[in-house]
Amino acid sequence: MTLVMPILLPFLTGVAALLAWDRRPVQRALSVLGAAGLLGAGLALLASVWRAGVQTLPVGNWPAPFGITLSADLFSAIMVVLTGLIGLAVAVYSLGSVDPDRERFGYYPLLHILLMGVCGAFLTGDLFNLYVWFEVMLITSFVLMTLGGERTQLEGGVKYVALNLMASALFLAGVGVLYGVTGALNMADVAQRLRGVEQPGLVAAIALLFLVAFGIKAALFPLFFWLPASYHTPPVPVTALFSGLLTKVGVYALVRVFTQVFAHDLGAVQPLILVVAGLTMVTGVLGAVAQTEMRRLLSFHIVSQIGYLLMGLGLRTPLALAGTVFFMAHVILAKAALFLVSGIVHRLQGTSDLKKLGGLYRTQPVLTVLFLLPALSLAGLPPLSGFFAKLALVRAGLEAGEFAVVAVALGVSMLTLFSMTKIWNEAFWKPSPEEDGTTAGRCPTVLWLPLGLLAALTVVLGLAAGPLFALSLRAAEQLIRG
């Protein structure tokens, strides 16, 4: 039952919110309650997986290789908890920042169906079912992306929709070929049968299909162009949700498929992953350095951070995968927090163009601190969460003797710090270009609460790095042992 709740709760919340179509206050209350419930369900799942090991549930009581299996190991459970956290933060933030028109056209139901799709993707143990959850997630994200119909949203939406649909078609083809070769869809079953397949070329081709399909969704180099072109166009809570969860589902799928389905040696695909990881880090951060609009800058950063997540997968040692799991938690929280900061900055000064911003350090000390915590964490300064995440990845890289990617990871860290100082200098430190220097608007408390929560969590993640990293290590061992 604990296994179904993270899927069932957002579904019920979404349906209930749909039924309360004309009553916005009811929808808003339902949305926050549902997201809090999802977080609770995630924590319950994590606790039960921690105590009792991997949980599986044959849906409809069909036994494992025939029916669809839901299964949760520690990695899935951690991801569901993170989904709950981001869901809750975004649901609360939305109360104060989504305009009534968007609320009237089903913003809250969409939000929760999206969360359902994300949780479903984390919990399924069946490849085709994974495709279905991806589509649930995609179609709701399409609508969330374009809801409101502003010109930039539609332009970004066309690119987002086109690239993601193409990725879905490739994913579907990959699943089809894999089924043709192995006659199975259950991930554990496919992995077992793949060992008996004597055509390494064919298996590598299937692996590449999955790598490209998930790579588009995860925004890897050179498949990331849709992301900076579209992520900054919808309202801030939607961007925070997308940046926190959607690309990470792509990375999750990559990790899942490349550790558990293609469990054996993949020949040339394995080093390819490391090369792509390095290039993703570099191009992302270089793109970010060139930007002057806060949300676009942060969008490029998403790409750069995806490279670190992939680096752990490319090394594929327990320590490296533990680094990926820990980095996942860190980057989801820090990134969403930074987008929420950009929303508040926009609210206060009416723009998020760095050239027109300034003086926030003087007028908004709290916001300054709440920006600095996730920003420095993202750059990897101790004792914040990013430091320990990168430390684990770098150590794993050194142990594996992959010095080039370690050097790239460290260099990109410097550039990350540089681009974060750029936001700091332009938006916070330099005097405001406006003559009076006063801030234009005020922010309701509902915008501050989720930001405070996420920023505090990046600190907690750093301070409690020991036990949390032990958890990640156990998750990684489960991934490798299968």
Binding site: V132, I139, T146, R151, E155, V161, S168, A169, V175, Y179
Partner: protein
């Protein structure tokens, strides 16, 4: 039969990709639809093509004897067709709205979010 279908699938992929590479919004959607159909046919073909051997256990037997058609690929395709229907319906409405708002069918005019 497999050979013919292989050429059909290849043709669909090629046509789909060609359409995706055009600048027109409408052709983009057609290309995406073709790619989806190509993937469906691919699954169909890879599920082994067998005629007249339904996967039904005869009344006097306990299990299937010999090879029979695999129903799973067809279930997968059915699911994929339904999903594709919904997604493409959305995409068509999206490009209609995009066309009305941007006042152009040319993807080169969709650059304001790229700079």
């Amino acid at each position: 039969m497999e050979t013919i279908l292989a050429f059909v699938i290849g043709g669909l992929y090629a046509a789909g990709l060609y359409m995706l590479l055009r600048r027109s919004l409408v052709k983009l959607v057609i290309g995406l639809a073709l790619l989806g159909q190509a993937a469906n046919l691919l699954i169909f073909t890879l599920g082994r093509l067998l005629r007249g051997r339904p996967p039904l256990v005869p009344p006097d037997a306990a299990a299937l004897a010999g090879s029979s058609a695999d129903p799973v690929p067809q279930a997968l395709i059915l699911t994929a067709i339904v999903i594709g229907f919904g997604v493409h319906a959305f995409t068509i409405i999206l490009i209609k709205r995009a066309y009305q708002t941007v006042d152009s069918d040319d993807l080169d005019d969709f650059r304001t979010t790229d700079q």
